[in-house]
């Protein structure tokens, strides 16, 4: 797809996808020019593609706007007052910010997992079946719930207590429950906003394995504070950094590319300094 090529001429250096021989399948084409919350300019120049059946990680220091960019991709930012941006986000070629597009429908195609595990105060079963109920799913809910729980590697732990409250699970289990809930409706894309930051290392490991497993079926974009995590799971990585030159704190995309290349041979000085831990 030509759009993925256009992405890289953004004035932040030539951060092409490099070694790809055939054109990758771009599911979401994110072209953010300027993003404001009220008068605060939060992000500028974030142009990057999310490729099908891959994991794309966003890394960068706190306040660099990586979560903001992620939340742009399924219009979660619509809830924030004063949010506006120029540019476009295309999902399968269709601009999801077009006036004719229903933001609610967008989120059914592009699901989300949040930083804090946030199951509903209802049974495990009903948590997973929530999306099915939203969509008025008429088929076999139990089967879809089981599939989703199996895919999120939670089935064996909860199959005997599906009627128990989702809040009774441990943090790591809750997060996998949230992943099950998100994938029960078969979205094409899964956005994960620091999904492991509230979890211990063992639960984190499980979620990471799960992500790698899930990418065969879904397309995943993840925000992470943890550089090792990005290096372990991501196929593509985007590094965002904060630009304070205009007085504010505006995040921008410094470099985007194959994870391996970005970590071993970064093109930009900022990237090299960040991943070598010289500043954070």
């Amino acid at each position: 797809m030509s759009s993925s090529e256009a992405v890289h001429g953004n004035g932040n250096g030539n951060n092409g996808t490099g070694s790809e021989s055939r054109p990758p399948d771009v599911v979401i084409d994110c072209q953010i020019q300027d993003l404001h919350y009220g008068t605060f300019k939060a992000v500028r120049d974030a142009h990057l593609p999310i490729l099908k059946n891959s994991i794309t990680a966003f890394i960068g220091p706190s306040g660099c706007g990586k979560s903001t960019v992620l939340r742009c991709l399924n219009r979660m930012n619509d809830l924030v007052r004063g949010f506006r941006f120029s540019g476009h986000v295309r999902y399968r070629g269709k601009d999801i910010y077009a006036a004719t597009v229903d933001a609610v429908a967008v989120r059914r195609y592009i699901g989300m997992v949040f930083q804090q595990p946030n199951p509903f105060a209802m049974s495990i079963f009903n948590n997973v079946a929530f999306g099915l109920r939203l969509n008025g799913y008429k088929g076999d809910k139990a089967e879809r719930v089981e599939t989703a729980l199996r895919r999120s590697a939670l089935w064996d732990e909860v199959k005997d207590k599906l009627g128990k409250s989702g809040l009774s699970l441990s943090g790591g289990q809750q997060q996998r429950l949230c992943i099950a809930r998100a994938i029960a409706t078969e979205p094409e894309v899964l956005l994960m906003d620091e999904p492991c930051s509230a979890l211990d290392p063992i639960a984190t490991r499980k979620i990471e394995e799960l992500m790698v497993d899930l990418k065969n079926r879904y397309t995943i974009a993840i925000v992470t504070h943890n550089l090792q995590q990005a290096a372990r799971v991501a196929d593509k990585t985007g590094f965002l950094y904060v630009d304070t030159s205009e007085g504010g704190r505006t995040g921008y995309l410094v470099e985007f590319g194959d994870t391996k290349q970005l970590f071993t041979a970064p093109r930009e000085t900022h990237t090299r300094n960040y991943i070598s831990g010289e500043f954070s």
């Binding site: 979660m76 809830l79 949040f114 946030n118 105060a121 409250s165 949230c178 998100a182």
Partner: protein
């Protein structure tokens, strides 16, 4: 520093006690409790004051309950609970019709005020950025909590009694619903606002519309809190007398006409029965008033206990 030096030079043995005392300079006298210190005395004095005050506050409560048990318990028989009030000087009888009347009118008030109250609370909690209208409504609800209950009765008198041409259970229910409404609105709004923002976010992230978020996540999650508010409102309404004097009046008879419930006739209630019978010069009626008072207190107590149990279960779940 001294410790490690000594430990090293002494080749593993404990440092001689005269050389190193980690507690040197600590005044152990200062650590001990002493009645000679003003701080301790003040502490004891204030604890005593608090205890005495608590006891004083409990005296009226327990004396009321004690009197009710003693005076009302005697007459609390099956007959009293199931029979209609006796005529003057007639022995026996009861206040069964008043129990049913209270239950009916409170139930009716609940039917009117619970849906309206919960929906208003939803509007208040969900109104974007707290619109001017929401602020006005919330203020009105707060004012209404302190609304003199007799005025609710006067309002229902004008709005229902005059309109329908007579005192009725319906008018009583309307008057009580006005008193229940603010409690329900304010507690339900709190309960809805207490639902963690992350749950709302999760619902929206799943592609739920605003309506679906409210119906499927916010209200079910807030339900125990809302129920607590409803219980409180019901308990308050059950004990109201003044508004019923203007609306339901009183009746010595069962609330039926031709074997069916009739909402459009004067209706007995426990509160008004107590008010009427307590001022009568007949021993039997006065004893019934005591027993009815005990029943009313027990009913309100039971409702409060249920409300507490429900909200406690919510806390355990969260």
């Amino acid at each position: 520093m001294a410790t490690s030096d000594t430990a090293l030079t002494d080749s593993g043995g404990l440092p001689p006690s005269d050389e190193f005392n980690p507690f040197a300079g600590v005044d152990f006298q200062g650590l001990e409790k002493s009645l000679r210190r003003p701080r301790t005395l003040l502490d004891l004095f204030l604890s005593g004051v608090v205890l005495v005050m608590t006891g004083l506050a409990l005296i009226p409560l327990f004396s009321v309950v004690w009197m009710l048990l003693v005076r009302g318990g005697r007459k609390l028989t099956w007959a009293a609970l199931t029979q209609a009030p006796p005529a003057p000087l007639e022995p026996g009888g009861g206040f069964g019709n008043a129990i049913i009347g209270t239950a009916l009118m409170v139930g009716l008030a609940g039917l009117l005020s619970v849906p309206a109250g919960i929906l208003t609370a939803t509007f208040l909690a969900e109104s974007r950025n707290d619109s001017r209208l929401a602020q006005v409504v919330r203020f009105a609800a707060k004012v209404l909590t302190g609304f003199p209950s007799i005025l609710a009765g006067v309002f229902a008198y004008g709005a229902v009694v005059l309109l329908t041409g007579g005192f009725s259970a319906l008018a009583g229910g309307v008057a009580l619903s006005i008193l229940m409404l603010p409690t329900i609105i304010l507690t339900a709004e709190d309960a809805i606002r207490m639902v963690p923002a992350k749950m709302r976010e999760a619902a929206i992230g799943m592609g739920a519309t605003h309506t679906q978020t409210v119906w499927m996540v916010l209200l079910p999650t807030a339900l125990p809190g809302i129920l607590t508010g409803v219980m409180l409102a019901v308990a308050r309404a059950a004990g109201e007398t003044a508004p019923l004097l203007f609306t339901a009046l009183f009746s010595n008879y069962w609330l039926t006409s031709g074997g069916r419930l009739d909402f459009m006739q004067p209706t007995a209630s426990l509160a008004v029965l107590i008010y009427n019978f307590a001022s009568m010069p007949f021993e039997n009626q006065m004893e019934l008033a005591w027993a009815a008072a005990l029943v009313l207190v027990l009913l309100v107590l039971a409702l409060n206990l249920v409300g507490q149990a429900v909200s406690r279960r919510q806390h355990q779940q969260a």
